[in-house]
């Protein structure tokens, strides 16, 4: 694994009695898309604000690109791009002027700004609309422009706070494609806040799951699926009655059994085999027509983690 670009040690932030971030420790390696997954109000946005040095932590410390978030926030702002909760575009200005503004803020020369704006807008198919006032654009186009703005000064690290929140699936997929191609082309590290599990599964090399300010787990999507021991089998057939379900539930290798649309869904611990269970079903009078094996999706892992934490 490459050097961590973000290092967080026991970071906490409280607002009155509410702990928005609670003893968070985490390392994010360079060159990947890191997904920070959690439900609304989990502390994801506060974490980004802390990492950007916009908020002071109550306890703990964090380093971004080697800069201390408490004392070197100016350096962090200069070396990172950020798309926060809102696109933050000036709607009474043109797309070109919006990018030009952040190029100027980041002390780029006029020629460099022009070349970079053309490069980014062309890549995102927005070049022909560069003179339009941003206020006239669709939400998807605005969000693409906001992503381009984060990259204008070629930062090694960008923060994206739920970039596809409120998008329809088609618009979200389009932005995912743009993000993937931009990230590959620019070689930038991305800290991506999201509660969209499809987004995390599609884009992220590593994922951290947070709930009520606490980090529940961190790892690659594959590792998370493995850590939950979540091997799943779906059995298609007939005659699956309550007796069969109870028999299956009594087996040590079975984590959970449920009926969905007449199919049996069985969660197995670890790498347990399905054969003995199929025999048990058949011997109990069930008719098995098809068996589908698969690993749990990230969504299932996420939901399991949320349930476990609630308990």
């Amino acid at each position: 694994m490459s050097e961590p670009i973000i290092q967080i040690e026991h970071l906490s932030r409280s607002f009155g009695a509410v702990k928005a971030v609670d003893d968070l420790s985490l390392e994010v390696p360079a060159g990947i898309v890191f997904g920070f997954l959690g439900p609304n109000g989990a502390g994801k946005t506060t974490t980004i604000h802390l990492l950007l040095g916009l908020l002071e932590p109550t306890q703990g410390q964090a380093g971004v690109l080697g800069f201390d978030t408490r004392t070197q926030s100016d350096a962090i702002h200069a070396h990172c791009g950020a798309l926060l909760e809102f696109a933050g575009l000036y709607e009474r200005m043109s797309a070109e002027d919006n990018l030009d503004l952040y190029g100027r803020i980041n002390l780029m020369s006029a020629s460099d700004r022009q070349a970079r704006i053309k490069e980014l807008l062309t890549h995102l198919d927005l070049w022909d609309r560069r003179k339009d006032l941003v206020g006239k654009w669709s939400r998807g186009m605005k969000q693409k422009l906001a992503v381009a703005r984060t990259l204008i000064h070629r930062p090694p690290l960008i923060f994206l706070d739920e970039p596809t929140a409120g998008f329809d699936p088609q618009a979200a997929a389009a932005l995912h494609n743009d993000l993937v191609s931009l990230v590959e082309r620019e070689g930038v590290t991305v800290f991506l806040n999201t509660h969209n599990l499809v987004e995390a599964e599609r884009l992220c090399a590593r994922v951290g799951v947070i709930r009520q300010g606490k980090l529940l787990t961190v790892g690659s999507p594959d590792e998370l699926r493995g850590s939950q021991g979540a091997s799943q089998a779906e059995i298609v057939g007939e005659g699956f009655d309550e007796q069969i379900l109870n028999l299956l539930r009594s087996r040590p290798e079975v984590a959970q059994v449920e009926m969905r649309n007449g199919h049996l869904l069985i969660d197995l611990h670890g790498e347990s085999k399905i054969g003995p269970l199929v025999r048990l079903i058949v011997e109990s009078g069930g008719l098995v027509e098809e068996i589908r094996r698969g690993r749990a999706s990230l969504e299932e892992v996420f939901l399991t983690l949320m349930e476990e934490d609630k308990r």
Binding site: L54, H77, L84, M93, Y102
Partner: protein, 237 residues
Amino acid sequence: MSDLWTMLWKETKDLLFQGGWAAFIRPGIIIAVMGIVLPLQMRSDWFTFSPIEVTLVIFISFFFILNFIGDAIAGEHERHTLETLLASRISDRSILLGKVIVTVGYAWAMVIISLLLGALVLNMTNGTGAWAFYTPVGLLFYLLALSLLTSLLVASGGVLVSLHSATVRQAQQTLILCTLVFGVALGLGLNAAGASLFLALSNNQILLLILAVLAILDAILLGIALASFKRARLILS
């Protein structure tokens, strides 16, 4: 310095050219009234600084800024652009000064254009062929300085109010209230100081005293606004 230039560029684009050329209708009307209609009504009195002219010169820029400055920080908050700006490397000082300088500069430029246009219109229409100008000229410079300092006072106070307001509407309401309170306090203060204070001073001394008091108030309000600009507080609000 480059940060300040960047903010001046941005404010000019965002605040003044909003909505394209339609943005020039309002100042255009004011300049037409101040630079054409009133000079033609007052003819030669316009060159000798009648009380109505002095009042208009000061209050036009005053109310123009009052209209714009509430938008400064509260407007960026409402439009969700402030958070992104705060996450960039631009300095707090440049953000604030950029807003104040552009707003004051715009209002002051309007006053200067109106006065010059008034002189031009009167000279073109007097029919004598003799060139006339404001007299005494020193009073013109005093009037311009007074207009500039008054504009700066409203802009500094306005940006301070805007910093502490959640919406543009709230900022504008607070600003109007503050203006009323300030006006009443000024009247009561002058009354309490009594005529004796002013009788003891020459006209020039009174004018300089007013400019000095305004300059001090400007510096105090701008200083408080700069000290109040806290990124964490703005993010949380």
